[in-house]
Subunit: 281 residues, 2 copies
DNA sequence: TCAAAAGTGTTGGACCTACACCCATGT
DNA sequence: ACATGGGTGTAGGTCCAACACTTTTGA
């Protein structure tokens, strides 16, 4: 434990998700929703002019959470949102210049409530639709478990461009222990950000099932069908209305407002029930 | 993103758990088991001669997982065990000398299978019994959620000494989001290691419920009652035998061996079923 | 013989899944 | 009138908690 030891640079990076309407079909149909991620266009080397997730170096007297909040406010104008530490990435060659160790955070926002604008070292900023396509899957049995790979195409698109990324997610089951890691096969994103993104998506999908994390993506008042749409996108499967409503019944409170001019029966607006407690608490 | 930025030191620390028999009462009774943690006595400043969890600085060309494995082998003689990244700790004053950011890992071993011995920069090494006592609890309601504190005494004891630690675990529920953090009230452990420890215990208890993580604490062959004892320690509550056996039925395979000279009906020995798959896989 | 643990069967309730059905609205 | 979504009830199955009971051993 001497002072002479090697010192890497340390950064924090944030994967900020939101869910927004894409297009409206006709006066009757509900708008379709899409999972989106916030990206910034880098104003400096390395990867100048490439899109990346927002991040910053950790300051000398700064806690990691302070750094991540400062970074978001400086670069994107976002503040006071739900953030959660995910994972620390330390491969020696993550950054082409020097050794950089990075801790990634996930953030969830209701995008309608937030005005993003490009900040320090940022040329441009935008929300990108996320589309995942499975290209290839393999599944092998081993002496002490299983070995599975999935090649995933990650398409990130805003109005003018589409960023293409391909990753291979490897899941091993060794003596019952699940080990997951990712290789980048091809990426338009800066650094290894495709890895951090796929990790965050996985975690987000996972947490939806046993927490109220999805409510961070909702506005103050929402209809139960809007909420169900969000769950369906995150879980990536259709849900039965009656069952969904029973499941989330005690997480929401009915208000006396309702939607109007919808072309169909108006729906009640609900708000999150702040008295709700998870079983563990 | 310039080179001129501040560089902290980065370490990896490992919280290694095992479960071992404490004392045998009489020829009929089963031995009681205890959760234990591996500690090393520091051979250098800071905190020279104090007990701490084993860790090391991350080398220049080294991945974090390489560093954690090297550290364990160098300092404790342990290798090839189950390890999992937990959390990254970045408070500016964690280390009295300089800024050190540390990523903690949790490891689980069957201690009967492993010979520990003190290594590099280590004066002594030992397994310590973990005992947790709740001293005080509070629970407040807030506008948008709840605020709970629990003062916990952590006693770590080997044959000759007991290390005392007191922490306050704060759990906040803000708009449904669970935020947990810990304050150290008093600690015989080096640095903020009491924090890392309580975090690891929490995670361990949690993962027992929905993974096969507990099997990493078992020997090759074990009885179902031994397995149940381990679950009971980790979940900190008694379990009904018949129900427990149904729950873990497809995670184990019966062997044709059995225990003998037990003073009661001999029990069959089981092994882990490596063909078992979690629902998600 | 008997203490201690090994091992199995049953029952009631909670919860989840799937499906069926009716209601209200704007054009 | 009708397409579209809003909203609710019910039957069947699965899973789990709780309890009761039998079996086997070594001293």
């Amino acid at each position: 434990m001497e002072e002479k030891y090697f010192r890497p640079s340390v950064t924090v990076d944030s994967i900020i998700f939101t869910i927004r309407d894409s297009q409206i079909n006709n006066y009757r149909k509900l708008p379709e929703k899409k999972l989106q991620i916030l990206l910034v266009k880098r104003g400096q080397d390395p990867f100048k002019d490439q899109w990346s997730i927002p991040g910053t170096f950790v300051g000398e007297k700064e806690r990691l959470e302070e750094a991540i909040n400062r970074s978001l406010e400086e670069k994107t104008n976002i503040k006071d949102i739900y953030l959660e530490q995910l994972y620390t990435w330390g491969d020696p060659n993550r950054d082409p210049r020097t050794r950089v160790i990075s801790t990634s955070y996930m953030g969830l926002v209701d995008s309608e409530n937030i005005k993003i604008k490009p900040g320090k070292f940022v040329e441009d900023i935008d929300w990108f639709d996320i589309q995942l396509n499975t290209l290839k899957e393999t599944n092998k049995e081993r002496k002490n478990g299983y070995y599975k790979t999935e090649d995933i195409e990650i398409l990130l698109s805003n109005k003018t461009l589409t960023l293409k990324n391909k990753v291979r997610v490897v899941k091993e089951l060794r003596n019952g222990n699940l080990i997951i890691y990712t290789q980048i096969l091809q990426s338009d994103l800066a650094f290894d950000h495709a890895k951090l993104l796929i990790y965050a998506i996985e975690r987000l999908k996972n947490k939806v099932e046993y927490t109220t994390i999805a409510f961070n993506l909702m506005p103050e008042r929402f209809t139960l069908t809007q909420l169900q749409q969000v769950y369906e996108i995150l879980l990536d499967k259709p849900l039965l209305k009656a069952n969904f409503r029973r499941k989330i019944a005690d997480m929401v409170i009915e208000t006396n407002e309702q939607e109007e001019n919808a072309g169909h029966r108006p729906s009640k607006l609900y708000k999150f029930n702040t008295n709700w407690q998870p079983h563990i608490f």
